[in-house]
Amino acid sequence: MAGERHNTSLSRWRGRGITCLLALVLLTGCDGEVGRSPPLQKGAHRGPVDPGISAETRQALALRIQGQRDPVGLHQPLNPASLPAEGADATVDGRIATQRF
C-alpha cells in the first residue's frame, strides 16, 4: 500500500518535471521575440515609410505607361472586307506580311 502511494507521487513529480522541461524548450524557441513589444493600439502606420520618387522618375513612369498602348493600326476592324482574299498578295496595313488574322 505504502509502496503504491510512493509510486504515484514519484510519477506525479516526474510529470511536473517533464512539463517544466517542455516549457523551457518552448521559451528558448522564442529567442527572436524576446524584448519585442508589438504596438497593439489601432491607428495609423507610425513606422518608417517609403522615401518617395522624384519628378523625373514620375515622368519616366508616365512614358512607360503609354508604352502599354497597342501600336496604331492593330485595332483594325476584322470584317470580310478588311481581310485579304484566299491567295491574294494584299496585306492589311500594320500586320506581318504573311499573317491573315
Binding site: L26, G29, P38, P39, L40, K42, G43, A44, H45, R46, G47, P48, V49, D50, P51, G52, I53, E56, T57, R58, Q59, A60, L61, A62, R64, I65, Q66, Q68, R69, D70, H75, P77
Partner: protein, 196 residues
C-alpha cells in the same frame, strides 16, 4: 499622377504564366510563395477566362483596416506597402483580402507563419531605395528606377496593364471600343470601386 493600379484584360490573357515567372525571378521569391497567380474562371465551361491576380493595391485596402499593428501604409502613388519589421504574422490581412494576396513563408509546428509577403507593385518597401536590405525583405524596387512592375511590362499579349489608373483605364476603354465588347476587367470594381 493618379493612383497606381493593375488591370487584367481577361479577353487577352492566354494563361502563359509569364507574369508569375517574371515576378518570382525578379524578386527571388522563395519556393512555395507566389506573389502573383493566374486563375482560370469557369474552367472547362463556355466563357472560360484566365486572369492574373496579385495584390491590387486597393483604394480602401481591407488589409490596412484589419492589421492589428498597422504595418501597412500607402505611398503617394497609392501603392499599398507593408513594414516587415512590424508584421507579427497574425494572418488577419489574408482573411480580409478579397484576392488572397498575402502569403506567409513559414509553417511551423507551433502555428508560426513568418512575416507576411505580398506584391509590392515592384516598389520595394520602407528601406533605402535599391539597398540590399530592401531587396532581401521586399524584392527589387523598379518604380524607383522609373520602371513599371515586371509582370505587366513583359506580358506578351499586354493583357496585364499597370500604372496610373486613369491612363490604364483609358487604354482598356480604347480596346473595348475597338473590339466591340469588354471583358469586365475582373477585380477592378472590388479593388477600386464601380467605375472604369
Amino acid at each position: 499622377m493618379a493612383r497606381m493600379k493593375f488591370l487584367c484584360d481577361s479577353e487577352r490573357c492566354i494563361e502563359c504564366n509569364a507574369c508569375v515567372t517574371a515576378c518570382k525571378n525578379e524578386h527571388e521569391v522563395p519556393w512555395g510563395i507566389n506573389r502573383r497567380r493566374v486563375v482560370t474562371l469557369n474552367d472547362g465551361k463556355p466563357g472560360e477566362r484566365s486572369i492574373s491576380v496579385a495584390c491590387m493595391h486597393c483604394s480602401d485596402a481591407p488589409c490596412m483596416a484589419v492589421c492589428p499593428v498597422d504595418c501597412f501604409y500607402q505611398t503617394a502613388e497609392g501603392i499599398v506597402l507593408h513594414n516587415k519589421d512590424q508584421c507579427i504574422g497574425c494572418g488577419y490581412c489574408f482573411f480580409a483580402c478579397p484576392f488572397g494576396a498575402p502569403q506567409y513563408p513559414e509553417g511551423t509546428n507551433f502555428g508560426g507563419r513568418g512575416k507576411m509577403d505580398k506584391c509590392t507593385f515592384c516598389a520595394g518597401g520602407p528601406e533605402v531605395h535599391g539597398s540590399e536590405a530592401e531587396f532581401k525583405k521586399y524584392g527589387r524596387n523598379r518604380i524607383a528606377e522609373g520602371k513599371l512592375p515586371l509582370c505587366a511590362e513583359m506580358c506578351a499579349t499586354k493583357s496585364l496593364l499597370a500604372g496610373d489608373g486613369d491612363k490604364v483605364s483609358a487604354i482598356y476603354r480604347e480596346r473595348v471600343t475597338a473590339r466591340g465588347f469588354g471583358s469586365g476587367a475582373p477585380g477592378w470594381s472590388t479593388a477600386y470601386g464601380p467605375k472604369i
